[in-house]
Subunit: 222 residues, 2 copies
């Protein structure tokens, strides 16, 4: 019994990313079967939550056996539709942009930055990790030409809206926004914000208030 | 009526980071009063959720008036204990490390990286954005000396646990882990993971399933 996609909490999708990370590490270590308890422990999430999250996408486990690791990885990837390549364009070749252009985990997970853009004439034409930096004005031409579906914004906050508008006009379907500014896009375009302060503030709050750490529930490895 | 810190959902803390970002942009634009409806719209969060999140920390608003923007900013900062400086050490001076060392938003929000560490002899002694790179072996000495409370891990996944152990042994209170690996720490140390795939997978899932975008609820600006 699958849940319709729009009824699945976005927080569950985010937890799937953690399950995948842990399962892939287990798979690499040759672990082929896992029950929800140790998987939950490794992810520092309640076992009941893990079972509930996975149940949104159908029945994955076998009673008394648990989950087959490689199979569960494939099923989760298929649910998230990340068992294929996603092509992205990066706008803003500053420090954060360069870090992402060289971030091996993206490519390893089928998330390929195929093109980089900037509006600085000194950066246009430069080669960064094998990619030529193009003028942002060429986005409308490059996005369809290179089959790009996702835009990554790594410009300073004051230029974020302009970058978003250029990406939208180029026909992008979704935006990953690393800049510290909210952006406004049409209804048919999806936006996800990467805001480092979500984690920083949670950390400082937990330290300041001595909120019990999740580590107590974690196993020694995973 | 304040809620005890350990009863406040961590997701609420993360939303406070978004409220702060939006409120600070409003404050910069000279907006001094706001009710929960437009604040919620700007954050793409339900108004009832905004009211609930703020209520965890006491009564902030005035009936019929809403919230005073500068006051609300100060109150949220005080709740999160981020109205003071937090000193951090960064371990792993690669691309991501360098991007964070030069990330102006950190310093602007009182989150100061005061020292950088690496185990690569070619990097030790190098100056990166004004900071000298120290050998990770000196962490135990530098952390208390420089009043560092937080460690930031930006090493490759296979070196994350070693970096975490070194930080813990140096007496760190919390870790912000940017590496794509789970780490294991003692109960008294807090860890927050920055996993870019949380947002990427949510984005690809929403695009693939055509889940209604939140943009429809957002105002034109903020």
């Amino acid at each position: 019994m699958k849940t319709p996609p729009e009824k699945i909490p976005q927080a569950a999708i985010q937890r799937l990313a953690t399950y995948l990370q842990v399962l892939e590490a287990m798979d690499k270590d040759g672990i082929d079967k896992i029950s929800s308890e140790p998987l939950a422990k490794a992810c520092e999430i309640q076992p009941s939550q893990v079972r509930k999250d996975l149940a949104y996408f159908g029945e994955f486990g076998t009673r008394g056996v648990g989950y087959y690791v490689p199979l569960l990885i494939e099923r989760i990837k298929s649910c998230l539709n990340v068992n294929r390549e996603w092509r992205a364009a990066l706008v803003g070749v500053g420090n954060m942009g360069r870090a992402l252009l060289n971030y091996q985990e993206f490519r390893r997970h089928g998330f390929t930055i195929v093109s980089a853009f900037d509006c600085d004439p000194f950066k246009i034409g430069e080669k960064v990790y094998g990619l030529e930096v193009f003028c942002t004005k060429t986005l409308a031409e490059k996005v369809p030409e290179l089959g790009i579906e996702i835009g990554i914004i790594t410009v300073p906050p004051e230029r974020a809206q302009r970058a978003a508008t250029q990406l939208v006009n180029a026909g992008i379907k979704g935006i990953l926004n690393y800049s510290a500014a909210r952006i406004s896009v049409p209804e048919n375009v999806h936006v996800q914000y990467v805001n480092f302060f979500h984690q920083i503030y949670t950390l400082t709050f937990n330290i300041s208030n001595n909120v019990p750490s999740k580590a107590s529930k974690a196993s020694k490895k995973y």
